[in-house]
């Protein structure tokens, strides 16, 4: 099938602002959007720039706005997109070139929530820190995050105020707050308890709709809010 890709382009060496360009490509219905973009780049216009790595929805490199929704180009099939497909860079982060945005503000927020296990106790000498199946299940959903930034860059609160820590960072905080092995629950809850922290979430649900890992993000954010209110994660 023949489709038209309407791509928002920006070359900092040439352009003053973003503009739309159209490319027609032949694709198979089961091709990924990433395949179609590769066809444009390899055979039509080598200057087209986007991030991609694993091409199987795991690395989270190729998040972009596809037909108005945040998607991973490698997780969406051409047959589901229609004959005319619009492709834009994700919103709320500075565009460097075409689909490539500066991810540093996103990762700075990620680092701010201390996304690593904090436990000063000596681990058992002969084995890892064990955890019951139920305790592991408690935060299973939020372990699925691949940091593609689809959620944070679809969030109107983040667009309106770039200081907001954003849904992805809260998901990461949730992953450790509800981990029975982590000893820094109160430290993390205090980080989240900021005007620009978890309270900036207005439960718009854009994050849930676009998460390629289908994480129930707004529920996770709600659980963190409740934990702050209750002064801990409880039993």
């Amino acid at each position: 099938m023949r489709v038209t890709l309407r791509i928002k382009r920006f070359n900092p060496e040439r352009d003053e602002k973003q503009h739309w360009e159209e490319h027609e490509v032949d694709v198979e219905p089961n091709d990924q959007l990433l395949d179609a973009l590769n066809k444009v780049k390899w055979y039509d216009d080598g200057s087209l720039t986007y991030r991609r790595s694993c091409a199987h929805g795991v690395c989270g490199s190729d998040a972009m706005v596809v037909n108005g929704r945040n998607r991973l180009a490698c997780k969406v099939l051409m047959k589901d997109l229609g004959k005319k497909v619009t492709v834009e860079p994700i919103r709320g982060l500075p565009v460097i070139k075409d689909m490539v945005v500066d991810m540093e503000p996103f990762f700075a927020r990620y680092r701010a929530v201390k996304p690593y296990l904090i436990n000063d106790n000596e681990p058992p000498a002969d084995r890892e820190r064990l955890q019951s199946i139920e305790d592991r299940e408690r935060f299973d959903d939020t372990t699925k995050c691949i940091l593609c930034a689809c959620c944070t860059t679809s969030c109107p609160s983040f667009w309106a105020n770039g200081e907001y820590v954003g849904p992805a960072a809260i998901v990461q905080a949730h992953r450790f707050i509800f981990d029975s092995r982590d000893m820094a629950v109160h430290e993390r809850l205090e980080i989240m308890n900021d005007t620009m922290g978890v309270w900036r979430c207005r439960t718009v649900f854009n994050c849930v709709e676009c998460c390629p890992r289908e994480i129930d993000i707004t529920r996770a954010i709600g659980e963190v809010k409740k934990a702050i209110l209750n002064g801990g994660v409880g039993g």
């Binding site: 503000p105 927020r109 680092r111 308890n193 620009m196 922290g197 309270w199 207005r202 809010k225 209110l229």
Partner: protein
Amino acid sequence: MSAISRLKYGSPNRFEAFSWYFMRVSGAVLLLVAVLHLLIMHVWYGVDAIDYRFVVGRWASPLVQVYDLALLLFAITHGVNGTRWVIDDYIHSRGWNLTLKAALYVLTVIFILMGATVIFTFDPDTSTTALNTVAAVFAR
């Protein structure tokens, strides 16, 4: 490390947590109180029955006064807190942010005082005189 890498979040202040919880509680209360008000006034009595005499009779009851005060307080504080959130979301200049919020709080106090004054000091005799004066102006 760039400046942005040292982003810091966190506050021991529980005001925002309280504000979030309050919105949920006041929202639920408002739903109940406002819907009940609607049912009583517009279904139970019906709009045809509502006139000046009806309102005068209604406000003579302390129960209605307390009910209307609850409606006033919850509606205003819920709305004002939501507006505060909107201002914090969209007004990034510190000066404008503080100015707008200060104006919002002043208006809040004025509206609560005005509403409460009407509810508790409503005097049918004075009001009748005032009503007649207004009616006379329009009758000219």
